[in-house]
């Protein structure tokens, strides 16, 4: 590796101040520090430092996303094959494995490429303008964004959403570590409000729309997500045939059964469908201590609590979905493991994390059931809690501050009486 380093060293002068390519210093610097952890040594303060840095931390999050990415890719192909009748629900899942992966990859890979291309491009631009080195934050955001998109989202729309999120949600606040809202969720929220038709829950399977037109679609296959289906029941009596038809899909042998929802064999955003794949990622994040187990567990408890309250109320068909079924559907699990735990936009205090997580989960289920216009409540709930996080922290810290003040008063009065 000496040779590679010598090569980097030899081209270095071109990028330095006064060199021909000095405006591309950021590019050179980021590539060099990517390949080689620099030989910087400690100065004042501690003489030794932990080996972990932001690159390794972010990389481990990406590793944790790989199960969801791979499963999502396969599932997009699987859903497509189902919708055109190429395979049936009764077939072994491994049937036409490579075809499914290929179809999925053809749709998913461009999303990943566009997300990274646009996002990192903007990052380089801002780093160059500000004269600092590239932060690693976007490495994770860039992978999260494709995973929470409907697979047929037009690439220009994705690019626009990424640009909006990186510039408005992150760079205007000062870059990585300074943002208030989760960057990936901001991208999705942008699309949700700017292009509601495209995210309405109808285009979640690759080419369903065109298949419909061509009359290729298997009978009764609408391609809507579980939450899209359920949202259509709100405001209708549970006894209406349409509602009962939807509820049948959630029965043990239905398309959105608890088993199918848990393993993720249902239509949905690329990475969100399989609770199992997400939980594998969660295990890695908790094992390495990178994702906060406090946020994850309280988020889950919050979601189950709201689900249980709805079960007890049972006012409409949607509310009767068991709490455990609620939390394995839609983006709940993905939001819990990869979005709510974003350390920058979550609560920063350990006590605050419990509150933050609980209400995140609680509101996710509440929004999804109460407001059929937002079939996916997790995005709204987490963004809302991102905004609330500083307030939660404020009260946690204030409790500590007033404890200290009381101690001082006590000590003063003790000295006065002594």
């Amino acid at each position: 590796m000496k040779a590679l380093h010598n090569m980097l060293d030899s081209i270095r002068p071109h990028f330095e101040e006064g060199g021909k390519l000095s405006r591309f210093w950021v590019v050179y610097d980021s590539l060099e520090t990517f390949a080689f952890t620099p030989g910087h040594t400690t100065k004042n303060g501690v003489q030794i430092r932990d080996g972990v840095d932001l690159k390794r931390t972010m990389f481990l999050v990406i590793v944790a996303l790989i199960p969801a990415l791979l499963f999502g890719t396969w599932n997009q192909g699987h859903q497509y094959m189902l919708s055109i009748g190429e395979v049936s629900v009764a077939d072994p899942l491994m049937m036409a494995f490579f075809d499914k992966m290929l179809i999925g990859a053809i749709k998913v890979l461009p999303l990943v490429v566009v997300s990274y291309g646009v996002g990192l491009g903007i990052e380089f631009l801002f780093a160059g303008m500000r004269g600092h080195s590239i932060n690693e934050g976007y490495l994770v955001s860039g992978m999260l964004i494709p995973l929470i998109m409907p697979v047929d989202v037009p690439l220009w729309m994705l690019a626009l959403a990424v640009a909006f999120a990186v510039i408005i949600a992150k760079e205007v606040f000062g870059g990585t570590g300074m943002n208030i809202l989760n960057v990936a969720l901001t991208a999705r929220a942008f699309l949700f409000f700017a292009y509601p038709k495209q995210l309405s829950g109808e285009i979640w399977i690759h080419e369903v729309a065109t298949s419909k037109a061509g009359g290729l679609l298997v009978d009764g296959y609408t391609g809507a997500t579980a939450l899209g289906q359920l949202a259509s029941t709100v405001g209708k009596a549970p006894t209406e045939p349409a509602v009962m038809g939807v509820m049948d899909m959630f029965a043990a042998d239905g398309m959105f059964s608890l088993t199918n929802s848990f393993f993720g064999l249902i239509p949905g955003s690329v990475g969100e469908t399989s609770a199992l794949a997400i939980l594998i990622g969660a295990a890695l994040l908790i094992w390495t201590g990178i994702g906060s187990w406090k946020v994850m567990s309280s988020f889950l408890v919050g979601g189950l609590a709201m689900g249980a309250i709805f079960n007890a109320m049972g006012l409409n068909a949607y509310m009767t979905i068991p709490a455990i079924h609620q939390v394995v559907m839609g983006g709940f699990m993905f939001g819990m493991v990869f979005m709510a735990t974003d350390p920058v936009s979550a609560a920063q205090t350990e006590r605050g994390k419990w509150v933050y997580g609980f209400f995140g989960g609680f509101l996710s289920i509440m929004i999804r059931v109460f407001n059929p216009a937002y079939p996916e409540g997790v995005m709204m709930a987490i963004l809302f809690m991102n905004v609330m996080a500083p307030l939660i922290d404020h009260y946690v810290i204030q409790a500590n501050v007033s404890k200290r003040e009381k101690r001082m008063q006590l000590s003063l009065s003790q000295r006065a009486t002594a």
Partner: protein, 489 residues
């Protein structure tokens, strides 16, 4: 309804004022509680971490070779502006004043050896970095006044500590610098053990010096009106049994349980407006010996440690000795010589001198070579890397495994991103990240509220070690304390 409510409220007011005031009530005013009875004598510190470095000292104690020169280094004594009392070439004896504090002219800094002043080393803006004395090997000492520590008054001891060169070893909370002699400390705290990585064992350091230690304790006790000195020890440390005028609190748990600031926080926390003094246990023994013998004592039993030290062990020497006498000939660019421990020590030149407040030296490999991402960099498996983060698999190894660590920063500085990293290694009821951010914003009011009065930079050393974003936490805390002191005037 409203009227009734209003009437009730008025009635309650009248009841409170007229009826309650006339009834004699028990006195609930907080009284001074006898802490020695109420307080649990054993405190378990749960937060913290022991960094398991290679190169622990063997228990053998050798006399270090006497060195040709000794140096007293003013920057070691934070908050002191030195005013020279000698010129280059002046003849001095052990105990001759070399300089004094501009803020407190009575506070003398004495020569640890006899000989001639060889050089005054200056840095930027002519700041004095060191006064170097060439030893003549005769160890002639100035005869200082002897003090009967058991009967002397507080003022007599205070004056003697200033003139006998012992006061610079007294630290204070808040501000974590050299104490102000005119202050009246609420209490004095001494840590009886050092928990930092590769730290010296205080029982070896104080071996045979317990009489001096006791004398020092008595002297300090006089400064707080005869109150006991708070001594933090490990559970069941026999060396400290039977001491007079000490109140022992036992501390279990990982580093920084041995930091005196942590011990103060868990026994009698510092409130705004209170001042607490601290002293290192070895300096307490030096204080006792100086006052009772009338001869300036600047002894150090130094733990010479680190993976690069050929034979880690203890050396008996004196403050300001040449580091070369402790490093067994190790030098060069590939080894870093640290005066102090790896978390709070200073990077010294291999021909440098032992710091005035240091009791340990550490030799570590320099990490100034770039590390390729797959073999030793951020993507490496890192089977030999000690980490508090669990992102390296070494946390699965048995706790007895020791690691070689170099001085590489292991990455570049970034903004705060990862949370929950400082809290597990910071055993204070204080929010470390929020306090640091208030310091970065120079918000004095917020710093006060968040508890800056209780902390020293060294208490944040593990936070700085663990920081993924490589933030210079100790420097920030030091700045905050200095700004606070300036602000308070």
């Amino acid at each position: 309804m409203l009227v009734l409510g209003w009437k009730l409220a008025i009635d309650a007011e009248i009841y409170k004022k007229v009826v309650l005031a006339s009834v004699p009530r028990p006195n609930f005013a907080p009284r001074k509680v006898n802490l020695s009875v109420l307080m649990s004598r054993k405190i378990r510190i749960k937060k913290g971490a022991d960094i398991r470095l290679k190169g622990r000292p063997a228990t053998t104690v050798d006399a270090a070779a006497s060195t040709a020169t000794y140096a007293v280094q003013p920057p070691n004594y934070h908050g002191v502006t030195p005013k020279l009392e000698v010129k280059e070439g002046a003849a001095v004896q052990t105990g001759s004043p070399l300089f004094h504090s501009k803020e407190t002219p009575a506070m003398k800094f004495l020569s640890p050896t006899s000989g001639t002043v060889k050089s005054i080393v200056r840095g930027e803006k002519r700041r004095i970095l060191a006064v170097v004395v060439e030893s003549d090997g005769k160890s002639e000492a100035v005869a200082l006044a002897k003090i009967d520590v058991a009967s002397a008054s507080s003022d007599a001891i205070r004056e003697a500590m200033l003139s006998h060169g012992m006061f610079p070893f007294v630290g204070q909370r808040p501000f974590a610098d050299v104490a102000t002699p005119t202050d009246a400390p609420r209490s004095i705290h001494v840590s009886g053990f050092d928990s930092s990585p590769l730290a010296p064992d205080m029982e070896i350091v104080l071996k045979g010096r317990m009489d001096s230690f006791q004398a020092g304790i008595l002297a300090l006790s006089a400064l707080v009106g005869g109150d006991a000195i708070h001594l933090g020890t490990r559970p069941g440390q026999a060396a400290y049994a039977g001491l007079d005028k000490v109140e022992i609190t036992e501390f279990e748990g990982p580093h920084p349980a041995g930091n005196v600031g942590v011990q103060i926080h868990h026994t009698l926390p510092v409130n705004k407006g209170e001042i607490v003094w601290t002293m290192h246990a070895e300096d307490v023994a030096n204080l006792g010996e100086t006052l009772t013998s009338g001869k300036y004592t600047a002894k150090r039993t130094v733990a010479a440690t680190g993976s690069e030290h050929p034979a880690p062990r203890y050396y008996q020497t004196h403050i300001g000795c040449e580091l070369a006498s402790l490093t067994n000939g190790i030098q060069g660019d590939s080894v870093r010589v640290i005066s102090g421990n790896p978390l709070t020590g200073t990077h010294a030149a291999s021909d440098g001198y032992l710091g005035g407040l240091d009791h340990q030296i550490t030799l570590l490999p320099e990490g100034n070579d770039p590390k390729f991402l797959l073999t030793a960099g951020w993507l490496s498996p890192g089977l030999d890397k000690f980490s508090l983060s669990k992102s390296y698999p070494t946390w699965l190894l048995p706790k007895s495994k020791e690691f070689v660590m170099d001085t590489n920063t292991g990455g570049e500085e970034r903004a705060f991103v990862v949370t929950g990293q400082y809290e597990p290694v910071f055993p204070f009821d204080i929010y470390p990240v929020q306090l640091i951010k208030s310091i970065m914003a120079n918000d004095i009011d917020a710093m006060e509220k968040l508890g800056i009065y209780e902390v020293a930079p060294e208490d944040f050393a593990l936070c700085e070690y663990a920081c993924t974003s490589k933030i210079d936490v100790q420097d920030i805390v030091r700045d905050g304390l200095d700004n606070l002191k300036k602000e308070l005037g």
